[in-house]
């Protein structure tokens, strides 16, 4: 894979010597070194990203189909493989294992290389793993649409797919381990803790949950408890760490200001590592489980206020005085939207685990809105922002069009907000009505229909945003944007160093 500079190129001179007058510490990387590190990720990360965008579009089509069916049940109802019971889990799995995991792993590999200040290891293996992963998601999705779903939520791929998927996660874990072992700086930046944590936790979690769910001894309530321990941790111990690692890198890096409190960031990581694993059983409040099992889940959920508060304070205080950069940085717009949503979804999640509130919101559309606030408004928006930063540095050209990025942002931001507001508002209404035995059930169902329409409209807006993004990514892969002649995009090292020096002199 191409990682060497063309001999005699005009770039070479810029890489070989740092800008004059610069003091290089152990922590700093020369522009040429950073270019080599970025280029070592190029083919691998672009394959993970490109595949992720394909699954995002495919998952959006499935999502729209499922959403329309809720208020217009006869829509595509004559084909067995397009019935709601198949389309909805196919949407969930393509989004989680296709879009979210593949875009997350792409960003993760790039961040590992940058933060360990070393080239990406085992590139051929990671490239093959992306192909292998795509095949698994494709076959698993076809199996769900063909009617072979396990019906265990978040694990609907057929049982035989579990081992091969766990193997792919294990490969990522080994690659992460190798990157850490090769790192040039002893200190682990906070993002590395999150990233290494999730590559260690998730293969174990996936395998343990699969064994427990597939074992013949696991029936009824035991299967359900395992299911929710696993499903909650897909968000908590897989997607959340990748999302937070990205936020902790991109906010300071884009605005040029270190994290407000590094102490807080470490406290946030360790409390998440210790508490999140215990929260899953709050999904079973009111279920036929021993009360203490559910209570432990509630305690774990409420303890999550600590890491959430540290993250929220840290991100907000880092941004104070820099909000004007939101106007000019696409990366920052998406990342800050995601970071704010993380605070919202986490506070909402902890409150939802309180029994009195759960009695109202459980089994309503409120839960659907909450799930999308986590996986979409938080994780997906952060993933978009990360890709806007990483891709130009890999393909060495600019994004082709600012208007396309704005359509993407406003389509997804307005769509997601509409989605969340409509279903959250109605979820509470629906819950209160269902707890009132005097209201006929059919009346509650009919009252739901306008809000389901708002959900479909929101889905259309988000899909428009996804199409704009896919067009941008396609042009980037074809290198249709303006080409940069500098080792790092957007900046000319020497010129900016001189600017920096003159700013120092001015102060």
């Amino acid at each position: 894979m191409n990682e060497s500079l063309p001999p005699g190129s005009t770039r070479s001179a810029a890489f070989e010597s740092p800008p004059s007058g610069g003091d290089l510490s152990e922590a700093q990387t020369l522009p040429g070194e950073r270019w080599l590190i970025d280029q070592s990720c190029r083919q691998v990360v672009l394959l993970w990203y490109g595949s992720a965008v394909f699954w995002l579009l495919f998952g959006s089509l499935l999502a729209l189909t499922a959403s329309i069916k809720l208020h217009t049940p006869w829509f595509l109802a004559d084909t067995a493989w397009l019935t709601f019971g198949r389309v909805r889990p196919a949407h969930l799995n393509t989004m989680i294992y296709g879009w979210a995991s593949m875009s997350g792993i792409g960003t993760m590999l790039w961040l590992f290389a940058r933060l360990c200040k070393t080239r990406l290891v085992w590139r051929e293996g990671l490239y093959m793993t992306a192909i292998y992963w795509n095949i698994l998601v494709a076959v698993g999705t076809i199996a769900i649409l063909a009617g072979y779903s396990t019906s265990v939520e978040w694990m609907e791929f057929p049982a035989w797919a579990a081992g091969p998927i766990a193997f792919a996660f294990f490969v990522i874990h080994v690659a992460a381990w190798k990157m850490l072992a090769n790192r040039r700086k002893g200190h682990l930046y906070i993002s590395l803790w999150y990233l290494f944590g999730c590559t260690m936790w998730f293969p174990f979690l996936y395998l343990a949950a699969t064994i427990l769910i597939q074992t013949p001894a696991s029936t009824g309530i035991a299967k359900m408890a395992t299911n929710w321990w696993f499903a909650h941790n897909v968000l908590g111990l897989w997607l959340t760490p990748i999302g937070l690692a990205s936020v902790y890198y991109f906010i300071p890096k884009v605005i040029g200001r270190p994290i407000h409190s590094y102490h807080f960031s470490l406290l946030g990581f360790w409390t998440l590592a210790i508490f999140y694993n215990w929260a899953g059983t709050h999904h079973l409040i009111g279920g036929p489980l021993p009360a203490w099992v559910v209570t432990v889940g509630i305690v774990g959920s409420l303890m999550m206020f600590i890491p959430v508060a540290t993250v929220a304070i840290n991100h907000h205080m880092t941004m104070v005085g820099y909000f004007h950069v939101l106007k000019t940085s696409p990366t920052l717009r998406f990342i800050v939207f995601g970071a704010m949503s993380y605070t919202a979804v986490s506070v909402q999640g902890s409150l939802q685990s309180i029994r009195a509130l759960n009695e109202v919101t459980h089994f309503t559309h409120y839960t659907i809105a909450h799930a999308h606030l986590g996986v979409y408004a938080f994780f997906t928006m952060v993933a978009f922002g990360s890709m806007y930063y990483v891709m130009p540095r890999l393909v060495e050209c600019e994004w082709p069009s600012a208007p396309l990025i704005k359509v993407h942002f406003w389509g997804t931001a307005i769509g997601m907000s509409l989605y969340w507001i409509g279903l959250t508002w109605h979820g509470v209404e629906q819950g209160l009505a269902m707890n009132n035995p005097d209201i006929p059930f059919i009346d509650i169902v009919q009252r739901t229909i306008p809000y389901l329409w708002s959900r479909s409209v929101a889905g259309v807006l988000m899909t428009i945003g996804h199409c704009a993004f896919a067009i941008s990514v396609w042009y980037m892969l074809r290198r249709h944007g303006a080409t940069s002649t500098e080792p790092t995009l957007f900046t000319s090292p020497r010129k900016l160093f001189q600017l920096r020096q003159s700013a120092r002199q001015a102060t």
Binding site: P19, G22, I190, V254, G256, A506
Partner: protein
């Protein structure tokens, strides 16, 4: 109940990995010189005070925001 006990064993194992990592982090001195750690993402050509992302240039070639210095 056996399976629920098994889930708990797996949860405890998962929690213990975090505790083990915490012990290693303390022993390896990961919690020393935290300010250096926070600044480790900046480089000589992308120093503290530099904005490193902006919308692509407009057809007139004008870019907004890039490299704006904050005098920190």
């Amino acid at each position: 109940m056996t399976v629920i006990l098994a889930i708990w064993i797996f949860m405890v194992i998962l929690g213990l990995t975090s505790v083990a990592a915490l012990v290693w982090a303390i022993q390896a001195g990961q919690f020393q010189s935290l300010d250096d750690g926070a600044e480790s993402i900046f480089d000589v050509d992308e120093p503290i005070g530099m904005v490193t992302d902006s919308f692509p240039a407009s057809p007139s070639g004008r870019r907004a925001g890039i490299g704006r210095l904050t005098n920190e």
